[in-house]
Symmetry: C2
Subunit: 660 residues, 2 copies
């Protein structure tokens, strides 16, 4: 039986699955072979596309494949792999399981008319990473200051409303469909900072999680839950949450048994422990491996995993103390534990050592725990990259991370070292899903990179443009590509320079404040004085962070002479007159890049204006409105950063431009 395609509420943007994207497929004769719920989902998609575009679909063994333009068939024991080839006028997708068939279907959708022309030998597609996950920092209860979604810039939660799981889950079904179409297969449905209300999702409110899981399941997505390490105390009334305490272990075992009673394919737990005020095993003198293994043991009988976040550092640091270095923390905490984590415990590591800045080096932890299952975490929600008021397509940044080789050119890439890729979601109940319509490209690119970490991100951007603006005309495609392609580097140019990071307003993290975190307990410093700027993280004279890398990176980063320009101030404190590889001094680079960044935004604004009339007017208007704010904000960044450093250094701009 075909499963009807979910219908999102009126006014919700179709994102990268507009009806037009299905037209090439929908006008064909299609045979579907196989059974099972995900095949029913595929059947529903095909049936709807055919109903709309006068194609034809047959389910079952069929009257001979040659009579069809497209054959979608399951032939195997299960899984996400599929092959796709074309011969004698028939395109054939053969999948090992229902999930593979679903991904194969969306592969055909992406190919568009190309899927039905020429001939080619069967190609096998399989995801490089087994788990491709979105973490939602959604709360059930709305926080008076942070709102409902922590670091959310796209309205309220897709899952939770009015203090409970949404009753009408059509929007969630549509969301699952979008995620499947870019390859995502797991979602954690609540904030890693687990507050009081949300703690109960694990026990008495698990039914609400089950309802969400049921809505996501038809598109191959498993549901995960963030839990508090203190649950045995908070929910179970035990006097301790000590991971080695038998009563605690029994409590988790029983709680987990009940979770699986409700959600048979439950994915597992996500835990932020001993971090930024969250409880954890340190309180009992236990290690993070002890903590993670406690939950892993409870999940193991059911095939679940625990995602244990490695974001552990001292957030009550004294800014006067220059020896403590927050960048070192994850490595220092977790490398000694390598080999101690259970097989179903996954260490979830942020891609950089700090916190999702526009530019960071790759976390040295990623190459340093060979006996630990690793998930690499990126941030689709644009906390530090413009909060979905700025267009900032992060594909190139994520791709650089995934292609980085921690052990040098001969070693494996991050995309090969990681078993999983996780993003903090940028979606909410906004009509455009992501606040800024162009931020949809981040969500899409993330999913596709998780499937294929070595992919050229620019190709994925073109995929997204082709689907989203289908049927896309050349000027639109060129225009959208032009405004997004370099937008990450543009954003980098007008914000904190040369890898030094932060310089944002405290708390909400939007807009410039050069000293906003300079004298704070958060460990985020630039140490600018009248002579120079940057953090000395060398082994020779600094915090020693550079030595956490394997060679050759430890050597590359150790010296300002070899350190890449874009990371110079992350690794070194240098005089304003220090000459970069680019040939410019640091201070002149600051001025130049800030003027350039604003000019690039001005150019994007003009380009976007030229696209009026070439797309859905509501989408065009929303982006145009965001660009107004981006331009204002970029100018504010430019002027504050340039003024700050001019006041401090006293060095005038070589080109005599006005610095306020």
């Amino acid at each position: 039986m075909p499963l009807p395609v979910p219908v999102p509420p009126d006014g919700v943007d179709p994102a990268w699955l507009p009806p037009a994207a299905f037209r090439p497929l929908g006008s064909r004769r299609i045979l579907i072979r196989g059974s099972g719920p995900l095949v029913d989902t595929v059947h529903g998609e095909v049936a709807e596309a055919c109903a709309r575009s006068e194609g034809r679909v047959v389910r079952g063994p069929g009257p001979g494949a040659a009579a069809f333009d497209l054959v979608l068939e399951v032939d195997g024991v299960g899984g996400e792999t599929f092959t796709c080839g074309r011969r004698d006028g028939t395109t054939t997708v053969t999948a090992l399981g229902g999930a593979g068939l679903l991904y194969g279907l969306f592969h055909v959708v992406r190919l568009g008319e190309e899927a039905f022309s020429g001939e080619w030998a069967p190609e096998t597609h399989r995801p490089a990473l087994a788990l491709r996950m979105l973490d939602h920092w959604d709360n059930v209860a709305v926080h008076p200051v942070m709102g409902q979604v922590e670091r959310g810039y796209a309205g309220g939660s897709l899952f939770w409303a009015d203090g409970r799981a949404r009753g009408d889950l059509d929007r969630v079904r549509s969301y699952g469909r979008l995620l499947a179409a870019c390859g995502i297969n797991a979602v954690a449905v609540n904030n890693v900072n687990v507050h009081e209300t949300e703690a109960h999702l694990l026990t008495d409110r698990i039914g609400e999680v089950a309802a969400i899981a049921a809505a996501l399941r038809p598109y191959g997505i498993r549901t995960h839950l963030s839990v508090t390490f203190a649950a045995p105390m908070v929910l179970g009334g035990l006097p301790t949450a000590d991971p080695l305490d038998p009563a605690v272990r029994a409590w988790w075992a029983e709680a987990t048994r009940r979770v699986y009673e409700e959600i048979g394919d439950f994915g597992g737990y996500v835990v932020k422990a001993d971090s930024e005020g969250q409880p954890g095993p340190f309180a009992y003198g236990r290690s993070h491996a002890d903590g993670a293994n406690l939950l892993a043991a409870a999940l193991e009988p059911y095939g679940g995993t625990v995602h244990w976040r490695a974001f552990v550092y001292d957030h009550h640091q004294d800014w006067r103390d220059r020896t403590t270095d927050r960048a070192r923390a994850a490595y220092d905490h977790f490398v000694p534990l390598d080999g101690e984590f259970a097989a179903n415990a996954v260490l979830q590591v942020k891609h950089g050592p700090m916190d999702f800045q526009v530019r960071e080096p790759v976390s040295p932890l990623i190459g340093a725990v060979p006996r630990t299952r690793l998930a690499v975490e990126v941030q689709a929600t644009q906390e530090y990259t413009g909060q979905q008021r700025h267009a900032c397509w992060l594909g190139p940044m994520w791709s650089e991370v995934l292609r980085f080789r921690p052990q040098g050119p001969e070693g494996p890439s991050v995309g090969e070292l990681a078993e999983e890729l996780v993003a903090v979601s940028n979606a909410g109940d906004d009509p455009f899903w992501t606040g800024h319509p162009l931020a949809q490209a981040n969500l899409y690119t993330f999913g596709r990179l998780a499937w294929e970490p070595g992919a050229d991100p620019h190709r994925l951007l073109d995929e997204w443009i082709g689907l989203t603006f289908a049927p896309v005309a050349r000027p639109t495609a060129d225009g959208v590509r032009a405004v997004l392609d370099g937008s990450w580097r543009t954003y980098e140019k007008y914000t904190a320079p040369l890898g030094v990071g932060f310089m944002v307003q405290p708390g909400h993290h939007y807009g410039p404040s050069v000293d906003g975190y300079e004298y704070s307990p958060w460990g985020t410093y630039h140490f600018a004085d009248r002579d120079g700027i940057g953090v000395d993280r060398s082994a020779a004279t600094g915090t020693g962070y550079a030595a956490q890398y394997a060679k050759p990176w430890s050597q590359t980063y150790e010296s300002p002479e070899t350190c890449p320009d874009e990371l110079l101030l992350f690794f070194h404190h240098v005089p304003y007159g220090h000459v970069l590889h680019s040939g410019r001094t640091v201070i002149q680079h600051i001025y130049d890049s800030h003027f350039e960044g604003v000019e690039e935004v001005e150019e994007a604004v003009r380009m976007w204006a030229s696209l009026a009339g070439l797309m859905d007017p509501a989408r065009h208007a929303r982006v145009a409105e965001r660009y107004e704010e981006q331009l204002r904000s970029a100018r504010e960044w430019r002027d504050q950063i340039n003024s700050y450093f001019f006041r401090k250094s006293g060095v005038p701009d070589e080109r005599g431009r006005r610095i306020c």
Copy 2:
């Protein structure tokens, strides 16, 4: 009939009216002559004191005054004036009205045993200022970020709870009693930023205001209400709030008539218009005089007044624009309107040109509107002076303001130019009324200075100590005086230097952030660069603000050579090496004062610790706990300010102390 003395809820601190303060009076034979509600209040006070200390009270013409230790009598047409003398063993207080008798009673309480020894000729006491008012920035509805009381540091509102006026008004009655005892005779019961809920207090919810007014009335306090200028639109459904529109005038007349139906002695309206986002007459091309006179006309038939706040400035200023000067705004807006305000319209002017910083010059507006009724506004709530976590007794600052002579040594003082004195209240439903128990001294001193602006504030502090710690022993009196006497200057030393102001964290305004408001739209800048610091407000080369003063002040402030040290950076941008009148350079002054300020807090902490066991343990403990935070915060201020200026100037401390 004696009115029973209000009993505050259990656990509420008696502040400056502990039973012990009434003991000298309560053990005497006392005759009360006169009638009326305030005489009943006096009678109740005396009866309770006598009941407790075995004295005796007679009401009526009495059997001959000579048989009494104290005669309290009304002999006149009304008013607040009283005389007090002593002859032949009888102390006599003769008042023109019930209010005068009440103030006379508290005068006798303050005198203690001295009231009953020796002889002295009758002295007449009358308040220098007719209106001595507290503005409460209390909201009915609790704001998710600001809390209930805007800039309140003493718990919730005394007047409003659970979305309406408190049902149990005993606490309000006790509050009124405390206020009367220091001379305050008017209270505005809601925030000058009038939000949606609070707008309705004027009309359908006036009954709640009436209940509060009834609770305050027995202690001679009239109630005022903050209203929104947009009320005719918000509440009346009119299409405009134009002050010259006949329908608008009629609406205000009718609304005011109804207010007086409910509250016969209603004091009037308080209005913040065209300020920080509040609506006002500018929207209709009308002047502030037009706006104020609209409300004055409505109030006039009933003897009410409108308090029109002069806090009008551009809070969307561009920091890049050095010509706009927020300090100029009040003068520029209101001097041209001098003479245009109605007789019952009072222009309420903040004491300084900015916003209640620890050090500001006196507002030049105060001496410049001779044909306008003036109220001078100070801030008892310690928004910028430690938020009642720091001990900072503001008496000396207010006294300096009140004794300042805007037209030079021969001209009148501010205390003589002002007809009224207003403070933003620092009280809330905290058990100690003011959060920090020692902040009670600010409330007390304010009331007493409003009665007698020329008083030596240190004498008033001693009064407060004598009452609050009654019966006070020498070590306690000396200790409390030692920690409070210089606390304002101590606070000044470790925060923003030399009158430059701000340098606080944006939003909540607690703790240091040197550049926190430096690139903001609020007009609060220090312009520090690697060479120097300060705002050039001279007429010759700066914003011209200094020329708003009459001579000799315009000349004094115009030049860095004659400008007082403590205001230097408010008026001038000078190099770090500029030598102050003190003989120190600006940069060395910054270092020295910050080290000294912290040392003075350390000394206060030690002094306070030595007072343990000499007073109510709860009060001692609360203050000790606040001192812990004050010391931590003062060190943070010292280190951030010193580091900031060392990094910027590169000038080392002459004395080689550690700067982080």
